[in-house]
Assembly symmetry: C2
Homo-oligomer: 320 residues x 2
């Protein structure tokens, strides 16, 4: 019997990354292509199809032995009918991306999902969530991304649009969010929020070690406060404590609603590892509606980094 | 072929109510029995078994033609293994209620669920959610109860403990909640919260029409502010506006996370009907991550009132 291969694609606003895998989960090749709003929808589909063929060449696998393609796309995605319901940055509305990419690939099966959901599936199947059928991935980056896996499958709601944990309000009337609400989780737990709070603390504490560490306010990053806090800087410790409190409150909401087996924390800030996660575990356990002693919950760091999306897209193709 | 019958039970802290149904959903008889913590677990199981037999007698159906029993119980329930994980008020922990009740009923099949989840299933199958496979019931009473139905089934998380929307924080550091957190949804959207805010507004506005309506602060109920608001009382309108804002914010969080087809609003306050729900619909649509125009959402009033739990328990038995 001929060997079977699959391609997973992580589509983004600047580039699309593709990975070629065999049926047992061995990655054989990777490639990328530039993307951009100016390309338009039709050319993007053509570019993605070319990317699939290119990654096959690179992996020395005939395109004819590829059995399926999975793709994670930004925006609101309806995986059931393969439509990108809405991707504001690219101006896409109701685009039948799965069908169009399939057409461009001679009828090859294509399944799509929201990119954060695909990353969550990647972690759940091949990364930090391997032991759990039910997990939630939270990525702490520019915003707060999230994906929810129930019984091994992406949960996207009835027609997409679910699992937008970054846009769960934690503070009614709080900090305005790009989504039009106020007080959203991502306004408190993203790397962007952490950097904002770090800068604010620096201006309030001119003697803080954060000044030396960062050099200048423009050079503050998500590590500044954590590094200074570990060195005993009081102002930095206050920033970190506050950040951990909001992150934990968001996780608490998700656990009280979904009660998964694991919360997987990814994105830049998760690089702090247990220095971040240990106090989060403590805070969450202490404030849960039903504590860890009654229903176990793991809070762990993500494993796959920026490749989670490709792995998840591969899982989509594999499951089809 | 012999006719098939089912019994649905709604277990509460003061009483248990049972309904006898035929397979087509016709209710044939209802009965109740007193419950109380002082009875203890074993006697409660015996009482529930006797209740099943009594409701059969009342409906003139031989107990032997009952094919299954469903039961909604307060507390954290693991429906998969039929255990009440924890019911604080009765001091129950890890009680195999489904198995024990089955034993007391000569081996009859028994399925259990959390009571709010059972009510949500009742509304989804026989009430306001009939048209939707995916819905969330929110009951605005002493607290805020909730149940989540995905693809026609109760969503309770991996081992129970999910769907506790009343204990989703809307205001980090806000009003203390009985669950140990602060700022929980139920501290702002329950009838209890509404009454608290009504009283506060009365003391701040001695000229408010609410004084005449209620008579005395002790007689304020969930209708006081709504009735006065409809009559044009400014202070009451402010209370109602604030209540609707918090209720909408909680619903927004649930929709951004679960994106169901319908939010079903029950409990005492839902008696206000469209005077309550119309502004909620407007607020939610305006603040959603993806508006109603892209993904439809219905916000409707519950249909089954206090019987939702019995109907849901019946559905549990029917599905087994």
């Amino acid at each position: 019997m001929a060997a079977k291969y699959y391609v997973g694609i992580d589509l983004g606003g600047m580039s699309a990354k593709a990975g070629l895998f065999d049926a047992s989960g061995v990655p054989l090749a990777k490639d990328t292509v530039k993307t951009g709003k100016e390309n338009g929808y039709a050319a993007t589909v053509t570019d993605l199809a070319a990317l699939v063929k290119k990654v096959c060449e690179k992996g020395k696998v005939p395109f004819s032995s590829v059995c399926g393609v999975g793709l994670g796309s930004p925006g609101i995605v309806n995986g059931r009918d393969g439509t990108v319901v809405s991707w504001t940055n690219f101006g896409w509305e109701d685009r039948p991306l799965a069908a169009d990419l399939s057409k461009a690939l001679n009828g090859l099966k294509v399944r799509i999902a929201n990119d954060a959901n695909a990353a969550a599936l990647g972690e759940a199947r091949f990364g930090a969530g391997k032991k759990y059928g039910n997990s939630i991935l939270i990525t702490l980056g520019t915003g707060v991304g999230s994906g929810i896996i129930l019984d091994g499958k992406i949960f996207e709601g009835f027609r997409g649009g679910a699992a937008e944990a970054g846009h769960m309000t934690l503070v009614v009337g709080g900090i305005p969010c790009t989504c039009g609400r106020r007080g959203c989780f991502e306004q408190y737990a993203s790397a962007t929020a952490l950097i904002r709070d770090t800068k604010r603390a620096m201006f309030e504490h001119k003697d803080s070690a954060m000044w030396k560490l960062a050099g200048a306010p423009e050079q503050v990053d998500g590590r500044t406060a954590f590094t200074a806090a570990k060195e005993g800087d009081k102002a930095a410790q206050e920033v970190v404590k506050n950040y951990i409190m909001y992150l934990s409150e968001g996780i608490l909401n998700l656990v009280n609603l979904f009660r998964p087996q694991a919360i997987i924390v990814g994105g830049g800030v998760s690089g702090e590892g247990d220095y971040l996660l240990q106090p989060v575990r403590k805070y969450v356990d202490e404030h849960l509606f039903v504590g860890f002693d009654r229903i176990p919950l793991s809070i762990v760091r993500a494993d796959l980094g920026n490749d989670a999306g490709i792995w998840g897209a591969y899982a989509l193709a594999l499951d089809d």
